[in-house]
């Protein structure tokens, strides 16, 4: 009983810190911290979405950056058409309203996830990993080839999307918007994981044969999980495009997929909040290492190798171990 009330206290504590962060950052003369934290929140959403199918569902998707990038481009393309006044395909008008672009990003990435998932989930294991990677790379090439939307150079979004009543040019406001969305997202994710659907997905990871033997059609459930996961990544991508005021094919590059997986494993596969810790760890690590040397990826490689080979359960498990045994 005290275990879970400890956890709740910890959660409230962390949330309080997150709430106060921009103010604290200003106080200590580190306004860049707010930007860092915003990126952590956004990547946390993306990594947690991936973790749902990867950590809980056992589906190793190496192409999740595709949905991240699609979310970003939905925002970018809608803004582009808003700025130019011409509707997309002559039909759909552009917009700069966050309340429209976010759901649009979620919807579009969901559709792509449905198509890619429908094909990829016909396979499993090593094949599945390669196929998801290949499809993501295909979309990368697609966006590189769209000169109208920046091509290789990416698409600049002059102004962050608007939210009625808020000044979205203020970095702190953006941070709080992301914080609120992240809080909602994680609350929903928590419910999902503990729902009958979540139960089934976790069951599929443990033994597909057993699940078939109790009458479950694995494919449908995995596909729905894949789509949900894609939508989450799309949401994160849309937020990122707003934050960076930029969408580029790099968001879909396979190395971005790799980064998301690194965040998942750093934080602890198969836990709800682990990916948030993983995102934080990764971004902090990246920032610190990059300030020492331009060859920071070398350091990242070694850290990753160490974590994979010598720790079970990433940082969350290490912390648990350090602060008081297994639950």
């Amino acid at each position: 009983m005290t275990q879970s009330s400890n956890k709740i206290l910890l959660g409230i504590g962390i949330f309080a810190i997150l709430l106060a962060l921009p103010i604290l950052a200003d106080m200590f003369g580190q306004p860049a911290l707010t930007s860092l934290a915003t990126r952590v929140l956004i990547y946390g959403i993306a990594a947690a979405s991936l973790n749902f199918i990867l950590g809980f569902g056992g589906m190793v998707s190496f192409g999740h950056a595709a949905f991240f990038g699609i979310g970003g481009y939905v925002v970018g393309i809608l803004y582009h058409h808003y700025a130019s006044g011409e509707p997309i395909f002559g039909l759909i008008p552009g917009t700069n309203q966050l309340l429209i672009t976010l759901p649009a990003a979620i919807l579009v990435s969901g559709i792509f996830a449905a198509i890619i998932g429908a094909l990829s989930l016909r396979t499993s294991g090593v094949q599945f990993i390669m196929i998801t990677l290949a499809f993501a790379q295909m979309l990368f090439f697609l966006f590189v080839s769209l000169k109208a939307y920046g091509g290789d150079d990416g698409l600049i979004i002059r102004r962050t999307n608007e939210l009625p009543g808020l000044n979205m040019r203020d970095k702190q406001t953006i941070y709080y918007v992301c914080l609120v969305i992240a809080a909602l997202f994680f609350a929903l994710l928590y419910r999902l994981v503990n729902s009958p659907f979540g139960y089934v997905i976790a069951g599929l990871r443990q033994s597909e044969q057993r699940m078939a033997a109790v009458g479950l059609h694995a494919y449908r459930y995995k596909l729905v999980a894949f789509v949900i996961s894609g939508m989450g990544a799309g949401l994160a991508g849309a937020l990122m495009a707003n934050f960076m005021r930029f969408a580029s094919p790099d968001m879909l590059h396979w190395t971005k997929s790799g980064e998301l997986m690194v965040m998942v494993i750093l934080g602890g596969v198969g836990t709800v909040f682990g990916p948030l810790i993983g995102a934080a760890s990764f971004i902090v690590l990246e920032t610190v290492l990059a300030s020492w040397t331009e060859y920071w990826q070398l350091g990242l490689g070694f850290v990753l190798l160490f974590v994979v080979l010598y720790t079970q359960g990433g940082i969350q498990a290490l912390l648990k171990h350090a602060f008081g045994g297994r639950s």
Partner: protein
Amino acid sequence: MSTPILEVDHLHKRFGGLTATDDVCLTVEDGEIHALIGPNGAGKTTLISQLFGELVHDEGTILLEGRAIDALPTPERVARGLARTFQITCLLPDYTALQNVWIACQIRRGHSFRFFANVHGQKDLQAEAYEFLDRVGLADRAGELVANIAHGERKQLELAIALAMRPRLLLLDEPMAGLGHVESQQMVELLHSLKGQFAMLLVEHDMEAVFALADRISVLVYGRIIATGSADEIRSNPEVRSAYLGEGDELC
């Protein structure tokens, strides 16, 4: 003459040059326990896998309650009332015994596309799952992770999960495998108490159990059924005796 619950007609399965299932014909009547015995390597588990849909047969028909199920994948066959236990237990290792049964109940009830209900609040499902555990004698191990329960208990859990599906026909693949004498007797008693509630196709090596439980026995050797009949008929069948000579299994 009522339709047998299971009818297998001229089933064939080949793996390259090896014929694993050779023209197998078999019926199981409603409510009966039909045992399938045979030396190691005879193809008993292969047959079970084909009946359950995990392996696709090359020739022949499988009829469940008179309807062909050949084209149906495993989950469909389960929906039609088929269930199985596994010789090498196939359980969800990260879940508790209770959760393993619970998920079977949940799936049977068709609840699984619900995204926001809290699984822990579903007390009626939990109670139902608990009942099945109790039925097989595992009530006191309900909260244990599968990784922590003993082999014999895992076999019992397999049975509990199968019961939770309320099958019409249960395929039991060596439920006694790896059990000690006392545990085997308990399992026999358990199966005996379930007799008549549904039909069973029981694959077993333990002859004591087979003779105690079976209404009819079929003998499978090199993928082929060489005899079917009552316990006495099988015991006195010369072909069966010679098939078992040197196997170390006693018939009497």
